[in-house]
Point group: C2
Chain length 413, copies 2
Amino acid sequence: MQADLICIGNEILTGLVENSNAGFLARRLWSAGIEVRESMVVADDKQAIQAALNRAFEHSEVIIFTGGLGPTDDDMTRDAIAAALGLELVLDREWLEKIDYFFKQRGIQMPENNRKQALIMKGASLLENQAGTAPGSILNWKGKLIVLLPGPPNELKPMFDSSVKPVLKDFNRGKLSRLKTLKCCGIGESSLEDKIKYLGKWDLPPISYVARGYEVHLQIKGRGSVEEAASAIDEAEKRLRQVLGDHIYGSDDDTLAGKVAELLIANNLTLSLAESCSGGLLSSMVTDIPGSSSFYLGGMVAYSGEVKIGTLGLDRLLLEREGQVSEAVAAAMARGARAKFNSDLSIGVTGIAGPDGGTAQKPVGLVYVALDKGQDCYCKKLNLGGGRLAIKERTAQMALDMIRRAVLAGARY
Amino acid sequence: MQADLICIGNEILTGLVENSNAGFLARRLWSAGIEVRESMVVADDKQAIQAALNRAFEHSEVIIFTGGLGPTDDDMTRDAIAAALGLELVLDREWLEKIDYFFKQRGIQMPENNRKQALIMKGASLLENQAGTAPGSILNWKGKLIVLLPGPPNELKPMFDSSVKPVLKDFNRGKLSRLKTLKCCGIGESSLEDKIKYLGKWDLPPISYVARGYEVHLQIKGRGSVEEAASAIDEAEKRLRQVLGDHIYGSDDDTLAGKVAELLIANNLTLSLAESCSGGLLSSMVTDIPGSSSFYLGGMVAYSGEVKIGTLGLDRLLLEREGQVSEAVAAAMARGARAKFNSDLSIGVTGIAGPDGGTAQKPVGLVYVALDKGQDCYCKKLNLGGGRLAIKERTAQMALDMIRRAVLAGARY
């Protein structure tokens, strides 16, 4: 079974907004066994939307639209599709009340514009929006499934998972294509490819890989019946795990921070952080995980030497002798955080994120990450490239991986 | 003049890789005065590529392909397009030598597969690749410009800027389209539209809006000759600034954190942060800005009450009386950070990011942000929705806006 994705919005076409919905929907459709045939972005323009619909209709059984369900005049997805299918738009009184309530709660009167968000195509089912005023809708029309979703990712994603996924499962009774993604870290793309080449003699399904900062993701594609696809993927996963070991930290929707949280909680360990060049990004990645307050005690962002001395108790002489960006300072920051927050584990990060501040001896991209776990404290040195944001990101990913490996090693004792 | 973007690759269609090339190319084309009509992603499949080419040919003068120029069997962009246009592929001996040299330098013999990367369509010009073995190519065919670019962004971006941009400038001698984005915050999308509607009597160019968390971006589209487009945009900007005032924080590539950094540096003010529910995100946004170490003294991430007492000097009785999520605690956190780091301004954030921890009195999404500037300390209360990550993001944006407004107000004294 095939799907077409049609993302509507001048803001995407002009490059103002990255289209993160397309990737999310593609991953979800694949895991429901539905292949994405084509993914397109069209303007806020009735004719363009209708042309895209007609084209998708020729090829695919599932057609998903995103965007253009807002209250403003350039939001015309609803009108364009209803007109193309010859369907009337009817007012959903219950949803209108919800919109009204949404504004009342915020102490604002509902602007008249928002009224049109309660219109849905006759015959379609309304999909509730937990995070905004634009409902989605889903329609089975001449044997095809037409889905309208709001553009903001924080509205689209929960709506898809709660309301569209179950319908798709029912709708897709044909052949399946299945994807599984294995997520690796602490190994480069070419070393990884070398390791996988040894598996050549086994008849593996197609595997693609893509590097994402400090991580490399492997995608395995299985085809055929449910059983064939599943067993091909299982077999490949088994072989890959044999050669890659704990370079694989998780699969599919797993994140490195999520895995770290899982491991810390399972082992009843607490964490604190002292960040310099990563500037709070590591802390933010950890606190993105629901429930992180149960193991994350607190963090410091200490840029200047004075702050490192004043808040983390660093020795002034040490700072002067070793310099702010040094192994000794990273370790002292980790120890300082661990003492201050009284945590089981702690991380200290110091480095030069750039663009300024580098020297010949200590260039931009030089980073030290130390992990203190009480009985010992060790440090890794990195030489990173790719600009300030990439340096912050890789540093934070690397620190997460150090925590992960420390807990795994401890769990094996 | 219009362009179509055709991005080729199963890795994008399956959601393994985000398609960052499309946004980059869109921004570049717009700034060259060329409008993107449609942007699509198609599979590594000859027929799909040719169908996309035919469709683009009907509508647009510029057609840009990305991806599928690699050495492996699933790289078929070159073949598919040459076949569709009835053009022969000829070997570029000079490029073949470069590929050979590229491998020799790395101590590897050139794999036979890579030979096909030196094939280009008869009549096309080769575009040098500084970062890889896949050259691009550009062809003026029946009055249309057809451009083939490699998929990896670190190869595509420099190639576009050095080799395609100058050709486009020459090619586009027709009418121009120009874009300007005004970035607003502290005002909802519909209230913003209401305000703009008052401007209806002025003949404004088309304006689109997009909400991004706490921000709304307005995009003004000017058309006609260079002078017409520029003067229409200038006029619209003047009118919009009149009705929106300091809700507009910047334009085009500006970011809220970048504006805050600019203002703090210009006014010689320093900043410190104490975050609970935003978990380090605010700190990370600030430190994304190059040079932030000149004004950002440091931050604390303090989740638990004990840490708030131990590191920020909060009063235990106050915490017990008011509860962790309260105006008084946000203010005490701000004051604690300001005292600890000795900064001019400070922010204290406390709230419930969820999904757990909410009660009837204090639901998930309840957030207090306090700003302390010495002579006074004030606090804003927010009721946010949209899930943990959206709550973190809006809280951080709101805090940045409070700093911005405080500095602007001070500068006006």
